[in-house]
Symmetry: C2
Subunit: 348 residues, 2 copies
């Protein structure tokens, strides 16, 4: 590929589109339809145009393109993949490249990847801490003046910014909704008890029971891995109880999908025979059948906010710790049984 | 955290376990149970031991910890997340750190992240090329002697190694299986026609029809985005046909799940009223209800193989291009209707 001094105008002419359309394509904007996009890309290749911010940065003072490190604890949970995509949207348009690493909940691996990212001169770090992470684990970064934004799981005591969702308010609203539908035996299914998120969501569960005038019964709290398989396991244990629950607020959507799977395996229909509410509102929550009633966190939005906060601190040259609790809202769909009629209409 | 000269033996003593157990924990081995792992981690923290291969490498000749670049085209598809996890398993134990970037099918973004990874001295690259990627796009890396392994989507003409699954054999087997169940109107749903994978899987679909003595009807090929939403769209168009299909081989599992969603929205039960076969065998395929009949590719296995091939070339100091077509196998579960009795027994 020749790296000629081809301009955006040349490409616009060759592709027969406007200059701004070419810019939108370069920015990977979703506003451009596929046909136009391919026309522009064809013209770029034909003219040997190479869009390369890395190279652009090379021409600037900094010898290397700027990178943002992103470390997540479970890449197989689509919540974190969507969060990373949200981060990418923002850092990309700011001229940064995202390097993502997965820890699979191992604090050893977390130390290792963060050390490596530091060596490679990350401008800032966005991290969803692995289980058992302690505030001291981020001291070296803070000492080195590298902005850190902790997401999803808060880290009490760490002098870093954090963006977590209003977990307590979310589960509380979910429980009150289920109670308003007439449920009195509402279980809390899934999640590892040794995480801050679990504590917050469980506290909201207790709040919701109080607000609804229902008693708290410890046996209705069934912890498990925060995964689809964990949900299958949790509902299995809940259904083995002598006095079974009739509804469940799940630790997250992955658990909720597993709970639906487990119910179906018992020939019980989620939303009709048992009410299920998730937490996160991952993409599949809308298209699943029944559509999942869940607490919407908007992982991509959280990723964008985390990236914006991090960029602000990078540009300011100093990291004043900020703690943001993003608002959540209960999205009522079909799995809680409240929208059965609506579901009926949908198929008409 | 004090970086004292704490040895593995000190930790083993403090945790009351064997030296080899500590080593296993340090390597993130799954052979150690949670209880032991947390005991060892507690001892490490107590003694201020920091396990840091990056630091270990610093003590060696190379100034930086070694990184492997991984670039995928759609991180929101769990197939790629699992592939990345498979790569991580191998590179981690070899003392490498994985830096992952997502292109969201943008070749501009792909050039950008690869350029950035090059600047940061990656030892090698594993990439699932974005749509419209051309072999020339990897010339610079090849010229620089950086080993590249292309996965999932082959790249004809590129002088790099590739690991792709036997796409043609996979869809062919799927079609023959559906024909053996008595289906004669079998559709091929989902996927972008301008990709090598689509061409290979479509060719297998045609092979399968021939082998089963069925004719090819172009209208039964309905392309769409290779996503869950794309599957909902594709089955919608298939169900609008005057002469509807009774079964579908889907481009991938994401499309197949969308097809199942679309069928349910029409009050049709996948496996009973319409046979669905996917491709990939993602984790959810097993736990979904009905369990998805699909062509098993084992994304984690493909990731491990890609990492092993890449490490071999890195260690050899030269990259002899190798092309591996990983075998696939049809996993018959419930969504194709063949296992209805089995499904019945499962709930007994």
């Amino acid at each position: 590929m020749t790296k000629g001094r081809v301009t955006v105008i040349d490409i616009a002419k060759a592709a027969g589109v406007s200059k701004s359309t070419v810019s939108l394509v370069l920015q990977g904007s979703s506003l451009v339809n596929e046909g136009t996009r391919s026309k522009v890309n064809a013209a770029m290749r034909e003219l040997g145009y190479v869009y390369n911010r890395g190279a652009a940065n090379l021409r600037q003072a900094s010898a290397k393109s700027k990178i943002i490190g992103v470390v997540v604890n479970d890449l197989t949970n689509s919540f974190f993949a969507e969060l990373a995509v949200g981060v990418d949207m923002v850092v990309q348009s700011a001229g940064f490249v995202q390097f993502l690493s997965n820890t699979s909940e191992s604090i050893d691996r977390q130390r290792e990847v963060i050390a490596s990212m530091r060596e490679h001169g990350i401008s800032g770090l966005i991290v969803s801490p692995a289980r058992a992470t302690e505030s001291v684990d981020f001291k070296p970064l803070v000492a080195a003046g590298i902005p850190v934004v902790v997401v999803v799981r808060s880290l009490p005591g760490a002098k870093v910014s954090s963006i977590v969702s209003d977990n307590q308010g979310g589960t509380s609203a979910a429980v009150e909704h289920l109670a308003s539908l007439g449920h009195t035996r509402i279980s809390f299914l899934g999640g590892f008890p040794d995480t801050a998120v679990f504590e917050e969501r469980l506290a909201g569960y207790v709040d919701g029971l109080k607000a609804a005038g229902l008693g708290f019964h410890e046996e209705l709290v069934v912890s498990s891995a925060p995964s689809r398989a964990g949900g299958v396991d949790a509902i299995g244990r809940a259904m083995a109880m002598s006095d079974r629950p009739t509804a469940a607020v799940c630790f997250n959507d992955a658990v909720a999908f597993g709970v639906c799977d487990g119910l179906r395996a018992r020939r019980m229909e989620p939303g009709r025979d048992f009410a299920v509410v998730g937490f996160d509102d991952v993409i599949e929550a809308q298209t699943a059948v029944p559509a999942l009633t869940t607490v919407s966190v908007d992982p991509q939005g959280m990723g964008r906010r985390a990236a914006q906060l991090l960029l602000k601190q990078i540009n300011a040259g100093k990291a004043e710790p900020e703690s943001v609790a993003t608002a959540v809202r209960l999205v009522v769909r079909e799995s809680c049984g409240a929208a059965e009629k609506k579901a009926g209409r949908k198929t008409a």
